[in-house]
Amino acid sequence: MEVGQMQRRLVDYTKSLFMEKGFLDAQFLQLQQLQDESNPDFVVEVVSLFFDDSEKLLNDLTMALDQPNVDFKKVDAHVHQLKGSSSSIGAQRVKNACIAFRSFCEEQNIDATLRCLQQVKQEYYLVKNKLETMLRLEQQIVAAGGSIPMIELGF
């Protein structure tokens, strides 16, 4: 596949993540704009940090909700962190799932919070998959000597 085709495929894929499915919001574009010749790996670095951080938080949440006496303050603190990170990178659906999660923490509703955890995990793995695909497409373009196209979305 030649570079132009790969670039078009990347643009279409990225746009679908934003427009059709709301996986990402405008904050992700902010991250892309912070990447330049002097910081060519900024997006990959931040996204990798997000993956590591989120997986740790999801493990902590699983353990915290598995206790006989659930400490909802602790659960809420973890969800607050995850909400913050997902918001900062533009992972909109993860962020929204965290917002719902927090309201059930406040109610100390064990069943609802367990459901929320499943929801957040699902959204996280979905966006992780999308981001990995996008980054792979970018890598292929760069490897073929092309540049990563800037996405114009008119937010």
């Binding site: 904050q27 912070l34 940090l49 607050h80 909400k83 913050g84 990170s85 900062s88």
Partner: protein
């Protein structure tokens, strides 16, 4: 979104900062991703950046902590801190800075993911120069720096 003390157009004299070529900013946030983001945003606005992962480490760095080593106190031109942090909050950090005769003139900016008017006014009343809503964008940081430079004289 930015909120400034004293109304959106004004700034008090003590916001004047000796910025020189590259202001040195201390950024405090317990979230790793947010620290990386704020650092890049500030560097893109030609600031020298030091990050701290909590208020206690920030106080040590500023020379106000219990564990500050002799001769390691660093000069900062501005402090930007998250509000919600475990242990000491950004608000409590702000108070400690304002209580210090050495550091009270250093502008402090508070960031938060939550838009709570009472929280905002509480911080501004305690002497925060600005309150910024997360997630931060390049335009927020550029505006922040412009505002600080404008008040220089």
């Amino acid at each position: 979104m930015l909120s400034c003390g004293g109304g959106s157009g004004s700034c008090s004299k003590d916001m004047a900062v000796e910025l020189g070529d590259e202001p040195h900013v201390l950024a405090v946030d317990d979230n790793l991703i947010d620290r990386k983001l704020v650092e890049r945003l500030l560097k893109n606005s030609s600031c020298k950046v030091t990050t701290a992962e909590n208020a206690l480490r920030a106080l040590d760095y500023l020379g106000l902590g219990n564990d500050t080593l002799e001769g390691t106190v660093s000069e900062v031109n501005m402090i930007i801190t998250d509000y919600c942090m475990p242990g000491m909050t950004g608000y409590e950090l702000l108070k400690k800075i304002k209580e210090s005769s050495v550091l009270k003139e250093v502008p402090v900016v508070i960031m938060s993911s939550e838009n709570i008017p009472t929280r905002i006014s509480q911080c501004l009343e305690e002497g925060a120069k600005m309150f910024m809503l997360k997630p931060l964008k390049q335009s927020d940081v550029k505006q922040l720096k412009w505002h600080l430079m404008k008040c220089r004289n």
